[in-house]
Amino acid sequence: MSTTAVDARVEWYRRMLEIRLFEEKVQELFMEGLVQGTTHLCQGQEAVSVGAISALRDDDYLTITYRGHGQALMRGVSMEACFAELMGRSSGCCKGVGGSMHFTAVDKGLLGAFAIVGAGLPVALGAAYSAKLRGLDSVALTFCGDGATNIGTFHEALNIAAAWKVGIVFIVENNLYGEYTPLRETTPLDDLAERAKAHAMPGVIVDGQDVDAVHAAVSTAVARGRAGDGPSLLEMKTYRFRGHSRTDPAKYRPEGELERWRERDPIVLLGEQLAGSGALSAQEQTEMREEVQIQVDATAERAKEGPLPTIEEIRSYVYAA
């Protein structure tokens, strides 16, 4: 593996840590009442965000979901703006009006986080199609959950993408549950990559806990899209370590399931590899975690100081004209 590749993986390790510790902090802030309403955290799924988004160019597009904090961070939304958003500050990435479910950075090609299941897919499709119409080779990435593959817009979007050879990569984070309901109760198959067959596009099963595998699969799909060869569907097998949202204790998990998946913690897996190859020793990993923790804590503190939005401010967000 080349030095750059090694460096990139050390960087990925740091980014996964940032996401992990960010989300843990969010949970804390939620318990303290500083983050209100709801949160949908992504601990356990960090390799998907990091591996996938590292495969994009700056002029590519993406849409995410309410469970998109990791993706927003990885796309370069500042952590302070994220914390501030969660605390309803006008220094937040959506000026405090969006909250946990709507992290967006149009200037970074992050064209929305949607709280309606499936709603992000058409938007990403439109962005990718727009690139095609404008003669650009930008592609779009869109993230959704396993449960979202049961809603109409999922199939509607895949259909158009394939019929018109749009450069888009559909990423399904299959974390085995839609809210409290296991996939198998609502869905007749375990491998959602199969759904690509209904739309004549490649469907690939990817180990979502292995950041290298994610990166490789997404890179291939992105290259395909960029070359004008059309869309791909990638199913990331993954797991969320926390409940669905807020304080969900996730009592619906069968015994031992969480523990088995914790053994496949993407941060631990990459850490072992990096330690093994000597790229980042266990000691260095501990130090990095401490550093990131300090950064996270300090950033959260700073974010708390952000100003609250005024009603006049937010009125101006309703209409542009």
Binding site: V97, H102, A115, I116, E179, T186, T187, I311
Partner: protein, 338 residues
């Protein structure tokens, strides 16, 4: 019955007990399911841990096989309910957040209300859609609509709501028993609210009938859902100032009980509408217009307390609170009349 929710109240069945709005919903579902084996519950996560809002606690255990978790596809599972209803069942569908009714709007607008009509009255469509709406929960722009007026323009449909625990019990049971499709709105901000509820068949509300929650002679406040609750608080506040407010919960938004409110306004001469929605297109506007067209002339122009028209529901907690009418805002509107 084994659930905690129920055991709290079962000893007092047929008597008035104090229970939360959530418990009242649960009790209505329980009592209806017990009285009619054709009733089935459907919706996302409805059978897990009481459902997302815990309104269904104990039901899967009490009625095995009759509470089913659906995939995420509101339009299809409501369309399914139509198919179930015309083949002898009486489905009750839960739509977790009222905003998701938009996803299901074809079923809600084009199918449920029209099916009986366009087949020449061949059958009835006894489907109940329970939908949980309302702000104040910091759920942000896509999870806070009450949705209560989204479907008032569709003949064929019944639109219902409840502003109190007793209303939740009586109206929901009436909705489930009704032969026509009903969409019943609950407010998530009311679930923890307590009130006196009597259980039993005789507590089933009459379809289309408003209720006066508080009698008064000086002004009529018409309010639904959370606003009904706040209107009652406002009335208390006003009582201290010698203003005697009548509070009416219309409950049914289609058909709308115009005579009830007309009579009240005829007595009080003054009207305030409190609604957690913008004025445009709502039942409040429809009410005031209907009265005006009917020739009612107000000594003092009626007032509307509602969501601002120039902003959407923000996440930011302080602004969310500022935007949703408070009891004080309702009281102020009453004071502003004179």
């Amino acid at each position: 019955m084994s659930t905690q929710l129920e055991s709290e109240t079962s000893a007092l069945a047929e008597d008035t007990v104090e229970m939360t709005y959530r418990e009242a919903v649960n009790a209505a579902l329980f009592d209806e399911m017990e009285s009619d084996s054709r009733i089935y519950l459907l919706g996302e996560d409805v059978a897990n841990d009481g459902g997302v809002f815990k309104t269904n606690a104990g039901l899967p255990e009490a009625f095995p096989g009759r509470v089913t978790n659906t995939p995420i596809c509101e339009n299809t599972f409501i369309g399914m309910a139509l198919g179930m209803s015309v083949t002898g069942l009486r489905p009750v569908v839960e739509v977790m957040f009222s905003d998701f009714l938009a996803t299901a709007a074809d079923a809600m607008i084009e199918e449920l209300p029209k099916f009986r009509f366009m087949t020449g009255g061949q059958c009835s469509v006894p489907v109940t859609v329970r939908s949980i709406g309302g702000g104040g929960g910091r759920f942000g722009t896509q999870h806070s609509a009450t949705g209560e007026s989204w479907f008032i323009a569709f003949p064929g449909l019944i639109v219902a709501s409840a502003g109190t625990p007793a209303g939740a019990y009586g109206v929901l049971r009436a909705a489930i028993r009704h032969e026509d499709p009903v969409v019943f709105f609950e407010h998530k901000g009311l679930y923890a609210r307590k009130g006196h509820v009597s259980r039993g068949e005789d507590q089933i509300a009459e379809v289309g009938k408003a209720v006066t929650l508080r009698s008064g002679s000086d002004v009529t406040i018409v309010a639904t859902l959370l606003m009904a609750d706040r209107a009652l608080q406002a009335a208390e506040e006003l009582a201290g100032e010698g203003i005697d407010a009548e509070v009416v919960d219309p409950r049914w938004l289609r058909p709308f009980d115009l005579p009830h409110i007309h009579a009240s306004v005829a007595r009080t001469g003054r009207l305030v509408v409190a609604e957690e929605q913008v004025h445009a297109g709502g039942w409040g506007a429809t009410l005031i217009s209907s009265l005006t067209v009917a020739g009612v002339t107000f000594e003092v122009a009626p007032a509307i307390v509602g969501l601002p028209d120039d902003v959407l529901m923000p996440y930011s907690p302080s602004l969310e609170d500022a935007i949703i009418p408070s009891a004080a805002a309702i009281a102020d509107a009453v004071r502003g009349l004179s």
